[in-house]
């Protein structure tokens, strides 16, 4: 879920560690079920930008409770790692949405571009911790699966948004 954390986090949270914008041919009308098929991306204008400021640590560098962490390059919402979950786990008592949006983030440790899904955790209201917006690879709403202005608690029993995880789904081509 992308939201107005600009209202909350107006500090220098925009880190140019994304690999540019990518276009996803949205298949509206069919659920994008995680686990059955990974989202398909069509990169068109990949640009190499400065990596995150953190000094790389082995494999997966950075602080998952910081908006600067490399996996959050297209996140928009509250970080589950500050909300009782982790970078890949929903907080206690929340349900993972099975529908999601995706971004592509470059890991500064290996220079590889990973496909990251930003699954929303649902069924409790706004966690309110670690609001984080990084919009670089976002597309307008007519390409919804690359848009984070949408509450993606669509594939959950309750559509109420709590926070967002950032999960590696594969490597971008």
């Amino acid at each position: 879920m992308k939201f107005l954390d600009r209202f909350f986090e107006r500090s220098s949270r925009h880190v140019a560690n994304t690999t540019g914008r990518r276009h996803f041919i949205a298949k509206f009308g069919s659920l994008l079920a995680i686990g059955t098929a990974a989202p398909v991306l069509l990169p068109i204008d990949r640009t190499s930008k400065a990596l995150a400021a953190e000094s790389p640590k082995a494999g997966d560098p950075g602080d998952p409770t910081s908006c600067d962490y490399w996996r959050y390059c297209s996140v928009d919402g509250f970080l589950c790692s500050c909300c009782g979950g982790s970078v890949t786990s929903c907080p206690p008592g929340t349900e993972t949405s099975q529908v999601t949006w995706v971004g592509t983030c470059r890991n500064p440790a290996d220079g590889i571009d990973y496909i990251i899904s930003y699954n929303d955790c649902c069924g409790k209201h706004s966690c309110g911790q670690c609001a984080c917006t990084r919009n670089d690879s976002e597309e307008p709403m007519y390409r919804p699966f690359n848009n984070n202005d949408i509450n993606w608690c669509l594939g959950a029993e309750s559509n109420v948004y709590n926070c967002t995880v950032a999960v590696i789904r594969g490597i971008a081509t």
Binding site: A26, G123, L154
Partner: protein, 379 residues
């Protein structure tokens, strides 16, 4: 002891005091209720998303001339709002869960009286209402107020049609691959599609589809067109994230695509001037002018970032007329439709920034009237 006798004593004592006082004793009062007058041209409605809670949200009603808070409309889960053309009704498309964050979901269209700010009626709608950062064109009325169009996202996309006379749902139209509803006249709305086309659906008086067209509008593989448009009558204006203006006259069954123009000179674009914001454009129909939130240091990831700088354009010539400046960062714009229009901006601090478009002057800020105002809308 503690009876009305005691009070009577008090009143007698008070009578004694009156004579010694320069003022008359203030009379007993009763509690009244407030009813607003019919909405004037400038009445404004701020949609408050309440990011840090988002369950019970609100629309705050203000008078930007007197800078007065007039009241509020409670809504469910970041509801979009729309105003009837006769100004008598404010519609909100609400979601309610039986246990607030879980349980049974009920979606309703609620019709609020614009003078009492009380609900007049509600109708249950399919539990599909889109739950997004509030979109200006997610909820709209037909020009004759007969129909209300509600955008659905499940992520399948569709539009629910409510007949406001019958107060019932009369249709749900699939708009696969397309989003939102841009209303046109009495029986038509357009949607913006992922393949770069504009889809236009025409209804009959029963709300049934009688015509549907698809017209190429832009190339989504080459540029990003912001879906948050503005209109003067049947002509809709969109901007690309790079600063081009794409517009179309939607009065016919098929849109007439109008010539593309640019908000910026090549020099300005080279300097990094580009539009950015949430509802980043607005039009003042009486002036035939458009207002755009602009960034001088634009980067792709800033396309939804707020700004303090607003450029004014003549819609006939595409010429830049003036620059307006706000003391606070603005995220969304709206202009009034009368002959002495105001430009209104929602600040990221929760306030409303007010500009008089006759003078071009910033006339004031209503600070702190909302928490996270995603939109401001006007009659």
């Amino acid at each position: 002891m503690h009876s009305s006798k005691k009070l009577a004593c008090g009143l007698m004592l008070a009578s004694g005091l009156i004579s010694a006082s320069a003022f008359a004793v203030l009379p007993e009062e009763s509690v009244g209720n407030t009813v607003l007058s019919a909405p004037g041209d400038h009445r404004s409605y701020m949609v408050d998303f309440e990011f840090n809670n988002m369950v019970s949200t609100r629309v705050v009603v203000v008078d930007p001339d007197s800078k007065t808070y007039l009241g509020m409309i409670p809504t469910g889960h970041a509801a979009p709002a729309a105003l009837s053309k006769d100004r008598k009704t404010v519609y909100t498309a609400d979601i309610f869960f039986s246990r607030y964050t879980r349980g049974d979901r009920t979606d309703v269209l609620t019709a609020w009286d614009s003078t009492t700010l009380s609900p007049k009626w509600e109708v249950k709608i399919p539990t599909k209402r889109a739950f997004t950062l509030t979109e200006r064109f997610a909820l709209n009325t037909s020009a004759d107020d007969k129909f209300v169009y509600i955008y659905n996202f499940t992520p399948s996309t569709s539009v629910t049609v409510v007949d406001t006379e019958k107060q019932e749902v009369v249709n749900e139209l699939a708009i696969q691959g397309c989003i939102l509803n841009y209303p046109v006249g009495d029986r038509r709305f357009a949607s913006l599609c992922g393949d770069g086309s504009l889809q236009v659906i025409t209804l009959n008086d029963a709300g049934k589809e009688v015509n549907r067209t698809s017209t190429k509008f832009f190339d989504p593989d080459l540029e990003r067109l912001v879906e948050r448009a503005t209109n003067v009558g049947s002509t809709y204006y969109f901007v690309t994230t790079d600063g081009d203006v794409l517009s179309a006259d939607l009065s016919g069954k098929k849109p007439e695509i109008l010539p593309r123009w640019s908000l910026t000179t090549e020099e300005q674009r080279a300097k990094g001037w580009a539009p950015g914001g949430w509802q980043l454009i607005a039009t003042a129909p009486a002036l035939n002018r458009m207002y755009v939130l602009m960034h001088s240091d634009h980067k792709p990831h800033k396309w939804e970032d707020p700004s303090t700088i607003i450029w004014e354009f003549d819609l006939k010539t595409g010429e830049k007329m003036r620059t307006l400046e706000s003391p606070n960062l603005i995220w969304s714009l709206s202009a009034t439709s009368d002959d002495d229009p105001l430009l209104l901006g929602t600040s990221i601090e929760g306030g409303l920034e007010i500009f008089d478009l006759g003078s071009g002057q910033h006339t004031g800020t209503m600070a702190g009237v909302t928490k996270t105002p995603t939109l401001v809308i006007n009659h």
